[in-house]
Symmetry: C2
Subunit: 159 residues, 2 copies
DNA sequence: GGGGCGCTACTCGGATACTGTATGTCCGAGTCGCAGCGG
DNA sequence: CCGCTGCGACTCGGACATACAGTATCCGAGTAGCGCCCC
């Protein structure tokens, strides 16, 4: 099991975006984080499709939030990039082999799928309690309150 | 993010193994679940390397538990197949770009990595509370108490 | 008849191809700002 | 001097290659049981 690399990029970009009221181009976000611009654009498109950010074309365009960062959970960002489906997918092997379970008895998910689903729910619940604004505050605290200011200043500077 | 298919196979095989005191060959487990024998063998090797099962070569050989199923958690099985490392891996992009964080300030994991690690811990905690014996009991309850008996009987039957 | 030995069949284990997803890149469609021109 | 128009540059968006991990398979090494032969 491996989480797409774009998840990390998207979360960092969301924190950066929360520091700018004006739209920020994908290339500028990529430059800020030192990552491939074209590939980051692909992931930002996913955020756009998920309704987390809104894209604006044209010279002063870019990406901006559709809502305040307090209303955007880390779970939303992760699901936008990685998909909402659970990591574990039951292929119903209980219906195979000499002791196959009858289809009528399979209306209920099998115990193994239930256990994995419960773990998945716990994972998503943990992510849903954290907002982009929380992440920004934590990062700011780690840097003694300079990180967010620097980002804000850099984003407002010359392109 | 996608969990290997072998996780499902391994969990089902563990429940089946818990019903046999004698070693069970990989081919027989594959037949019971209707899955590719050669590929299942690969995953059983992983369980063996993790110390969950013990392999015995020879005509009456096969795989058997090293401990009672009450002492084997679903987390152990999942980690044996999928690896113990977390799904999210921080690539430290905060150290890139024009606002790179100094290496001395990176002794602490960044807030985003901490958030993802917390979610991962919740996921693993949920899995660690469930044992192979629990899974067997749940499956048995779903089938009104016939499933485990059938497996036990089938495994003791002719090969 | 009993013990030793060789053979056979069965098991696991790792090395070897193949497929699908994640990664990375590119170019085209659309849009806004700005400069130039006319009134 | 003001408004309109055309151009240009910049933006996103999806379509196109590549690398790696999961999937699937095979054959060789090792072991235990069984039958046979010898004593």
């Amino acid at each position: 099991m491996k989480l797409s690399n774009g998840v990390e990029w998207a979360l960092h970009c969301c924190v950066s975006l929360s520091q700018s009221s004006a739209p920020v181009p994908a290339a500028r976000l990529a430059q800020l984080h030192g990552i491939p611009p074209a590939y980051l654009a692909k992931h930002l498109q996913a955020l756009s499709r998920a309704g987390i950010v809104r894209s604006t074309p044209g010279p002063v365009g870019g990406y901006a939030f559709t809502r305040p960062p307090e209303q955007i959970s880390a779970l939303e960002v992760v699901q936008a990039i990685d998909g909402a489906q659970a990591a574990f997918r039951c292929t119903e092997i209980r219906r195979n082999g000499p002791l196959a379970v009858s289809p009528e008895a399979c209306v209920k998910k099998c115990a193994i799928a239930r256990a994995m689903a419960a773990a998945d729910t716990a994972w998503r619940a943990a992510l849903s309690t954290i907002t982009v604004a929380d992440l920004g505050r934590s990062i700011d605290a780690d840097s003694s309150g300079t990180a967010l200011h620097d980002v804000r200043h850099w984003l407002s500077g010359p392109g």
